[in-house]
Structures are given as C-alpha cells and as structure tokens.
C-alpha cells in the first residue's frame, strides 16, 4: 500500500503541468489585462473615481441584492431539499425533478417572461424575486445530494442516544450538509453579483448594468474599468470567505448504501405541498404562461422564421468555436487533476474558478480593451468571443474531463500494460473508449452553456451577428415581447438539457434516489 502513500514529487508530470499552466494563463488573460489597465490608469485617477457617492450607492445596492437573494435561496433551497429528501411528502420524486428545473431558465429569459406578463415589474424587489426563483436550485441540488448521500449511521447514533427526530435533524443532519449548502449559497451570491440580463431588464442599477451602460453609451473606459475592478474585488472577497469556512468543515464520506430515515409530516403534509407548489408557480408557472401568451404571436410575425434561423446560426457558430476552444484548454487540466493531484494541480484548478466567478460583463469588457490595444486582428472575431467563453466556462469542462479520466483508473491501465500491450495500444483500447463519453458530454454541456451566455456575447459579438440570447435581449429591451418569445422558448429548451444532466448526476432522477 505504501506506493499510494508515497510523498509526491513537486511536478509529477512535467509536460501535462506545463500545458495546464499555459491553459490557465490563457483563461486568466482578461483578468490580468484588467489589472494592467487599472494599474495604467494610475492611483489618483482610481481613487477619485472610487470615492464617489454613485459608487457607494451601486456597491450598497449590489451587495444588498446579493444578501437578500442568497438568504432567500438558502431558506428555499434547504427547505425544499429537506421536504423532498427526508420527509414523506406526497409526490416527492416528481417535486425533486421539477424543483431543479428553474435552473433551466436563464434569468434574462425569466425576466422577459415576468415583464411581459406583469405590468410594471421593475425595481429592487422585482430583481430579488426574479433572481431568487431562478437561482434557489443552486442550493437545492447540492443540499438534496448531500442529504441523500449523508451517512445515516450518524443520525441513527443520535437517535439511539435519546435525541428525537427533529433534534437530530437540527443537530446532526443539517450540520452534515452545511458544506454543501455553503458552497451552493456562494454560487448564488456570485451569480447575483455577476447577473446582467435580469437586473438590466427590471432596471436595477447594479455594478454589471452600470459597467455595461458606461461602456456602451459613453465609451467611458476608465469608469467601466474602475467599476469592473471593484466588482472583481468583491467577487474575490466572497470566494475567500467561503474558502475559510470550508477548511473548517470536515468532508463527509459518501458511503451510504441504506436509504435515510424519513420524517412523518403528519398534518403538515398538505401545507408543505402547497408551499412547494407556490414556489414552483412563481419559478416555472409565470415564465411558462408568459412564453405561451406571446409565442404564437411571435412565430406568426412575417419574416420571423428567417430572423430566428439567422440568430440560431450565429449562436451555433460562436458556441461551437467556444466549446472547441474551451475543451482544448480543459484537456490537459482535467487529465492533470485526475492523474497527478498535488499542490500545483490544486492551485491551477482554483485559478480557473477565479475567472469562472467573474461576471461576463467584466470578461467581455476586458477582452474588448485587450483586442483593441494589443491584438487588433482578434477584435470583432468570433475567436475573441470563444476566448471569453473559455475563461467563463473552463471549470465546467475541466470537471467533465477529470471525471471522465477517473473512469479509466491507473489500476486498469496497469493491468492492460501487464498483459503485454504498449502505452499507445493501452490508450487506444482502454483509456480512450472509457473516457470519450465523459469528454463528449462535457463538450456538449459547455456548448449549451455558451449558447445561453448573454453579457459577454453582447459586448464581443462581431458587428451584424446576432445570437438567440442577444436577439431576446434586444427585443425585450424595446418591449417587443412577441418578437422576443420564440428566442426565449428555444433558449429554455436548450438550457433544460444541462439541467437534466445535473439533476441526474446528483441522483435525483435515479429510481432509488429520493424514494
């Protein structure tokens, strides 16, 4: 056994490590360039821009929105997860799947549906409601997964030591899932800070909207730059805060094979069902009604089909380029993560998450400046947009490659070598067949995520090229709801696929998952 405990060399696979470092460098290009520009602007200029009342108001509003939405999502997400995974709620399996679906609705699509349905839907609380019903699955999904996989032994011990079911739930179960919930809440907070589509549509001035307006209307480069820098700092602070809580939380083994104990709801069964239905009505019902109302009118508009086809073609071409480029960068990193874990690998992986957490507006803006000043041939090309996608979605692809590589463990490859096949033959007959499905799924997931991206696409798309997301945004901004509806419908269908994959991965759709 000692072989597996051996102290690792600092650079276990030099070639792979170098390729990974290069991939990370490319992905971090926007962030680095942002820092360079901020440095060039000079300290005096920065402080005069920073210490303004407008910035204080923006920061206060953005943080307040993030706090309200994160708190609401945590309550909703954990509550729904407990009901689905740990009680005798009627129809809990169906609820488990349906409650994850709001993730399939991009917030700007939901925003379109709400303002097309409810007159005067605008302002802070409208944004808070919209973002909450769209992003609570970020907490719900990991909480359900943690509840399903938590070791029932700990709960049984607590019960045997005289704690009742509710005391056990509070004292043991909720503590077991705390790391998962904290990670989910961080995703929500980061998402709210980076959201552009929804807050713009309901006319709430947060950092992202202010950055976009400053850049788009006045071409106020320094203003946009300063706002972006502040947003990056806020993002990094949030990640740092979550990291410090994570180091204190033990990792819980997911070795449970027995189904967990379920609590009887008694006379609270039907009130609980009603509450869940109400949430789902807000999260899914309103968008569905809004879409249905406008879709027929939108499709029958003259010339609409050609316009939709052109936008779909645009989406397809930029997303294919984006997915291809992202997978290219992800391959060495994913392999390194699966085969040579160690401090260097962990550092490289973490760095990809930094860029992932940054708002698309910031990435887009930084790349515009970068192309204009440094790499002009890239400006207005789809490869610049592909670079933005790679920066934003690299961790998704790395995760897919790493878990695919784990499908072909070293022991299997060693057994193949010992049977007389050379390294290349083993790669062809064992490694490749085992990892290709996972890598393909990762590429598809990245592709679909690129299709949904809005802010970076708005900033970086070649002039004259429209995508599904930009068309939806343009039409909604001008209150052309019928024209916007077909794009919203297509985007919802496209986004449903990765959500389904995510739900399947957390075990929600397994026959035994939430029984």
């Amino acid at each position: 056994m000692r072989a597996r405990r051996s102290p690792r060399r600092v650079l276990p696979r030099p070639g792979l490590t170098v390729a990974s470092a290069a991939a990370v460098a490319v992905a971090l290009l926007p962030l680095v360039y942002l820092a360079v520009r901020a440095g060039e602007a000079g300290w005096d200029r920065l402080t005069t821009e920073l210490l303004t009342e407008r910035l204080a108001v923006l920061a206060g509003r953005s943080l307040a929105l993030a706090a309200v939405v994160t708190a609401a999502c945590t309550v909703l997400g954990v509550g729904a997860a407990l009901l689905v995974a740990r009680t005798d709620l009627p129809g809990r399996r169906a609820f488990g799947v349906v409650a994850a679906l709001p993730l399939a609705v991009p917030t700007y699509v939901a925003g379109f549906a709400w303002i097309a349905t409810v007159d005067g839907f605008a302002g802070f609380w409208a944004a808070a409601l919209l973002l909450t019903v769209c992003s609570y699955p970020y907490v719900f999904l990991p909480a359900v997964a943690a509840l399903t996989r938590a070791d029932p032994g700990q709960e049984e011990v607590s019960r045997s030591l005289g704690r009742g079911p509710w005391a056990t739930l509070l004292g043991v179960t909720l503590r077991q899932i705390r790391p998962a919930v904290a990670a989910g809440a961080l995703l929500v907070a980061l998402y709210v800070l980076s959201d552009f589509g929804a807050v713009s549509l309901v006319q709430v001035d947060t950092f992202t909207r202010a950055i976009f307006t400053a850049f788009n209307l006045g071409f106020d480069r320094t203003g946009a730059l300063v706002l972006s820098t502040v947003l990056v700092v806020l993002t990094v602070l949030l990640i740092g805060a979550e990291l410090t809580t994570r180091t204190r939380d033990a990792r819980y083994a997911s070795t449970a094979v027995r189904p967990p104990v379920r609590l009887g709801l008694g006379r609270w069964r039907w009130p609980a069902v009603t509450a869940l239905l109400a949430v789902l009505a807000l999260a899914l019902g309103v968008p569905a009604v809004g879409l249905a109302r406008w879709l027929a009118a939108g499709v029958s508009r003259p010339g609409s089909l050609a316009e939709i086809a052109a936008a779909a073609g645009g989406s397809l071409s930029v997303s294919l380029a984006g997915a291809a480029f992202t997978m290219l960068l992800a391959l060495p990193l994913g392999l390194l993560a699966a085969r040579a874990p160690g401090p260097v690998t962990t550092l490289l992986e973490r760095l990809t998450y930094v860029a992932h957490a940054l708002p698309g507006v910031v990435i887009g803006l930084s790349l515009v400046f970068f192309a204009v000043n440094v790499a002009y041939p890239l400006y207005q090309s789809r490869w610049l947009l592909a670079l933005a996608y790679a920066t934003l979605f690299l961790p998704l692809a790395v995760g897919a490659v790493a878990s695919a590589a784990a499908q072909s463990p070293p022991a299997v490859e060693e057994a193949a070598r010992s049977l007389g096949r050379g390294p290349f033959a083993v790669f062809r007959t064992v490694t490749l067949p085992l990892t290709l499905p996972g890598i393909g799924a990762g590429a598809a997931l990245t592709f679909l995520t690129c299709m949904k991206e809005l802010p970076a696409t708005l900033l970086l798309r070649p002039t004259g090229m429209d995508t599904l997301a930009t068309e939806l945004w343009t039409h909604t901004s001008t209150a052309a709801y019928a024209a916007a509806a077909p794009y919203a419908a297509i985007l919802v269908v496209l986004a449903a696929v990765p959500t389904w994959l995510l739900a399947a991965r957390t075990g929600l759709t397994d026959p035994g998952g939430t029984r």
């Binding site: 072989a3 022991a411 060693e414 193949a416 070598r417 010992s418 049977l419 096949r421 050379g422 007959t429």
Partner: protein
Amino acid sequence: MTESMLTVAGLAKSYGAVPALAGVDLDVRRGMLLAVLGPSGCGKTTLLRCVAGFERADRGTVSVAGRTVVGNGVHVPPHRRRVAVVPQEGALFPHLSVADNVGYGLDRAARRSGRVEEVLDLVGLAGYGARMPHQLSGGQQQRVAVARALAPRPPLVLLDEPFSALDAKLRTELRADVRQALRADGATGVLVTHDQGEALSMADAVAVMDAGVIVQCGTPAEVYRDPADPWVARFVGDAVLLPGTVDDDVAVTPLGRLPLRGPSTGGAATVLVRPEQIRLATVGGAPATVVRQDFHGHDALTTLRLDDGTVLAARTLDEGTGLTAGAQVGVTVWGQVRAYAG
C-alpha cells in the same frame, strides 16, 4: 531442480527518505506459488509493483524466466516483461465483455484457438464470455481477472491481495479455486497478502516481510513451526512466548522441562509454544487458573494464568470447552518447542 521463474536480488526502493524496500532477495521456481506475507506498510505492494514494472527500483536486480528486466541500467517497460497482474479490485475493463477481457492479452490467432474458453473453464466461469463486468458479482469479477492474467500463459502471475474485498466464506472458496486453476495451468505466481491464513493455505512457500526486508522464507509448515524470530512467530499465527532457560536439548519454563526442536545456545531464552500444543487436564501438569474462554465453534481459546503470574493461551477442541473463569486446571505441553536466545 526446476528452473527459476523469478529472481529478485538486493532490490531497494525509497520514497524520499522513507525506505519501502531495503534489499529484498527472492527466488520462485516454475509452477510454484509464493506468498509474500507482511503487515500493511511493510513494502510488499511496492515489491510487486517493482517486479511488474510500474515502479522503478533504486537498486538491485529482477529476472523473469532467466531474462533480466531490472538491473545494470535496464528497466524493461511493463508490457515487455510478460508478468501479468491480478489487481486488488480486479480492475476489469468495464467496456469489454468477459471474453474480450480475457482475450485482451492474446493475439488474434490465440484468441481463436479456444484459449479464452479454456481459462474461463479453469476459473469455473465457462459460458460467461458474453457477460459484461458489471453483471458479475465481486467474486466472479476476481475469477475473470485471474483468467485474464492466465490467458497469455505468462511466465509469472502477480496477485495483489486479490481476495481482500470479498467476504470470509467467498474468500475461502475462491482461494481454493484460484490455487487449483493456477496449478492446472502450470502457472508460477507471487501472491501478496497480509492474511496469514491465506498465505499458509494457498502457497507452496511463504516469504514473511517486515520493514522492507524478507525476514524468513520457507514452506508454510516451516514458517509456522520454526519461525525465525519471536516477531514472525507472533505474526504467523497465535503464539505463547514464555521466559525460560535452555539446558542442553531441553527448555526449562514455568510449564516444566520441554523438549527443544532445532539447535539453540544455552542460557536465558524466549520459548515459543503454539496454543494448540497446550493441553488442559483436571489432574497433573502445572497448576493454572482460567481467566476467560473465547468460544469459536470449531475450537475454543482459553486464557490461563499460572501461579507465578505468567499468562498463556490454550486452543482446545470439544473436551476442553465449557470452563468458567476461576476454574483450576493443570497444564501440560505436547510436542517440541522452539527457543530464541535472549
């Protein structure tokens, strides 16, 4: 004397400052199954991985069927060594059927020669060729892994704790079947295990390993009856170690004068008695008090205290069971004992 299929000489390997192998010597003859037995962390898995070629040794030589694969600047890659491995969890190729798994190490002609069916039959899985690995139980997967290793008729098969993930009853059954399959195929094998029962019951020879060196190598009976030192005695089976003195060919112990096996220098000594050599009687023998009795079904292990405070254990069959704590018995020793100086 049959030819040597594996020769290991002076093999050493360190991870940083931690030595995993500190000069290992081994010799395995054709058709033999050698068990490398040791506690976890003793270096036995590292030894196996160095022989297979998955790890590079720092020093020493390894020859397989007379061909040097490690040593003098040579490091033959794993796929050119013709050393087949049966890993701990089987590590079957999950995307290949049982037949394709077993045929993986064969060339096209050999695959069509019926060798796949032959080895599947050897491990008791005739007719399972079309199944996929996930349709098999843990024990069946392990049988396929053995068949896969045997199929190309390698000069040497390495088994890395292949039964440790199975439950006790299945393990016993599989040990006997795998031993039978290896013998029927004329294969030479090295089995790495921490389970002394497995090593003693399966192997033709047992190499006891501790802290990166082979402490003793011999037949199972030799290792059990004549352990090289008190540590081996305790690791391979239960041991009662008594203080005593050696007087010519007799050991003087609290249990009386016991006849010695093997040579021993005179003077103070530690005397090894196996619990099954200790007999209990109602009259005669050294007087002792029963401390407790652990009943195992097929026998019972009785813990006793002599009047001078020495604690010892006796393994008794039916006639010795049913003793309660505090009962007074007499203790005698049957057969010869072993003494270690000091």
